[in-house]
Amino acid sequence: MLLNWRSRELQLKIVYYGPALSGKTTNLKQIYSRVDPAHRSEMVSLQTKDDRTLYFDFLQLELGKICGLKPLVQLYTVPGQSYYEVTRRLVLRGVDGIVFIADSEQSKLNENYQAWQEMFAFLKDMDLPADEIGIVVQYNKRDIPNAVAIPEMKRLLGDSKYPGFEAIAVQGVGVYETFRAILNLTVQRVQRILQN
């Protein structure tokens, strides 16, 4: 979070986290395509030649004014492949809110679990208590034939207390709801911190 008292700008960092190919970049692309260009930056993607995220994707949104403050929301993704562990940790620096994208495919259950555990381990290492960060979960790819039932996915993620949303991100389904939830959680968290 960066608060500029003169310009009344509040910059927030939201990271889309999750296993490889779960739909993190797809979420950002959907947001990019649906938000009025006057209120967003160009999307920056650091990708490999085969379009996999190498470092991060980045997009900034300008949201007008909330109770006198002008929030600028920066959206990042992390590279999902296991060997980019160090990079994922770097992108999480200074995070205010996290969307965890879980893949509904049966064969990806273990990868979801690993990514979930890793994310909390990184937050702990960086002395960022998870309960001080807004976190929501998106259960993506709900349209695939062998999609794992939501209760099972929730159980895998430790009976997640975090808000969850079903999505088919590639069609834009659930993207807005997820984004709205994380933004509200993040703004409310910032408000609470400043009140104290």
Partner: protein, 174 residues
């Protein structure tokens, strides 16, 4: 540490820039770009959040540049750490065909990116960048101002309705 940093600790990952600090930063960056005969200078925080820029910036996507510079610095710092060459205040120098681009870590929270012609002596620019980074650190250590009034609406407000309404207004069919 000054009380400004007590505030920062409370925000965990955050940085709070008060009006007088913002003005002082504005002035320092203008001075730096002028003294270095630079093309432009940019200040961001190490998590990628853009703060300020001076010089020829009209054609440059400063927001993206801030996030990329932070990514570059973070990667470079990790490379230094892994290869046993880590030191505080990392500097990256990129030599282009017309310009040097220098990225410098300003304490633990900020970074400075300066682009200067390759005709300007690099040693001189490095010294200048370090001097101004030191001045920037001092600005951020200055005591906080009474700016709470600015936030009073935000602190008392019911934010959810505003957020929902704004997103509804921004969201199109794609």
């Amino acid at each position: 540490m000054g009380s400004n940093f007590e505030y920062e600790v409370k925000l965990r990952s955050g940085l709070s820039i008060f009006p007088s600090q913002d003005q002082a930063i504005d002035q320092l960056l203008s001075e730096l770009v002028e003294k270095a005969t630079g093309r432009f200078v940019l200040l961001a925080d190490v998590t990628g959040q853009f703060i300020n820029a001076k010089g020829e910036t009209r054609k440059t996507d400063l927001i993206a540049l801030g996030s990329l510079a932070a990514g570059d610095l973070a990667a470079s710092t990790e490379i230094a750490r892994l290869s046993g060459e880590y030191q505080e205040d990392q500097m990256i120098v990129r030599e282009g065909s017309k310009y040097y681009t220098i990225i410098y870590e300003v304490g633990t929270h900020l970074l400075l990116l300066l682009q200067v012609s390759i005709e300007v002596p690099l040693g001189w620019v490095r010294i200048l960048v370090k001097q101004y980074a030191s001045k920037l650190k001092q600005i951020l250590l200055s005591p906080p101002e009474k700016a709470e009034g600015i936030l009073s609406d935000f602190l008392k407000g019911e934010t959810q309705a505003f957020v929902d309404q704004m997103l509804d207004d921004l969201w199109g069919e794609g």
